[in-house]
Symmetry: C3
Subunit: 137 residues, 3 copies
């Protein structure tokens, strides 16, 4: 390997500006890492980031859509994802989250990604955060 692998920031046009100097996604070689996404609606000029709604359902679907947008922008699909990390704030949300998750991924044809789910603190109003690791090729 004498050529330096290029490293590319992956920034869907729909996404809000990250609150610090990090990328929503980054690709190097055949690795695509998606940063922790939350349920923010697509960015609108002049509007502060705003969750899709107060419910687990609204936030989970928007969060998955946001992860997906980064995957697509980086040349990947859910089929390429090997790990999904799920951060919930309440163990009481596990069953409903899994229902939403299963419905969302019902049409996957490849092996489903691995997953870890833990319960953490998140900024006020946010119920779920998700990041993902994809291997392309």
């Amino acid at each position: 390997m004498s050529e330096k692998l290029p490293k590319t920031a992956v920034t869907p046009a729909s996404h809000t500006t990250p609150p610090a100097k990090f990328s929503h996604g980054v690709r190097k070689g055949n690795i695509l890492q998606v940063a922790g996404q939350v349920g923010f609606l697509p960015a609108e000029p002049g509007r502060a980031p705003e969750p899709a709604g107060p419910t687990l359902r609204e936030q989970t679907l928007q969060t998955l859509a946001n992860v997906h947008a980064v995957l697509v922008e980086g040349g990947a699909t859910w089929e390429d994802v090997v790990m999904i990390r799920v951060y919930l704030t309440d163990t009481g949300h596990f069953a409903e989250f899994n229902e939403l998750y299963n419905a969302y991924f019902a049409d996957l044809t490849e092996a489903p990604s691995a997953r870890t789910t833990v319960y953490v603190g998140l900024p006020a109003g946010l119920l779920v955060e998700i990041d993902a690791l994809a291997v392309l090729g």
Copy 2:
């Protein structure tokens, strides 16, 4: 790389069915990701998933055994693991966990994996969750 890399679900026969559409492990290219494992005993038909016991010791040893089963099923060993993520629920468990961890890995001959340990919430009755990333080859 003109051939598409195969992606394979890794599912030890001993493992309980995941509570959602994810794989206990997944391999793509030379990456093997093990999903978050907890201290559930080997699956028995008709029995709900059940921890190996209420203690940190019982759950840690079973959790490590469960991670190991996924590694082996995926063609890897602990020697291939580059990252182990440990989720405990109580900072008071750190010293005992490390004793168990060190004893378990006493015979490693390659460089030990990196590790991150943080304290989170887990479903009631579970004291430890562990996932792992292996690079094969």
Copy 3:
């Protein structure tokens, strides 16, 4: 790939001994994983690990320095990092942490790493833990 990939522990001389059998960093193939680092000062013989200070600022800067030392020892730089995982203990620290983070990374020339930030428990006195995944080459 008929040759077995070497796996190497990465241990900066400045680092305190890990509290268990894990490596501060480990490299296999083109993957370099940095273990969770905290704000411990460089090791001194006979002194127990000690944070750089009680403040978020002191601990964040020391933690980033500790991650960086592992990267350098492993043949990488921040430019090679694709994922930074940040564990804070208080959502009230997010804004100050981001200021410190942005100042620290002001001179990055490649695409910034992806990042996930969640709020967890850490051992008493520690306010921040950070790990990192780099892809070399």
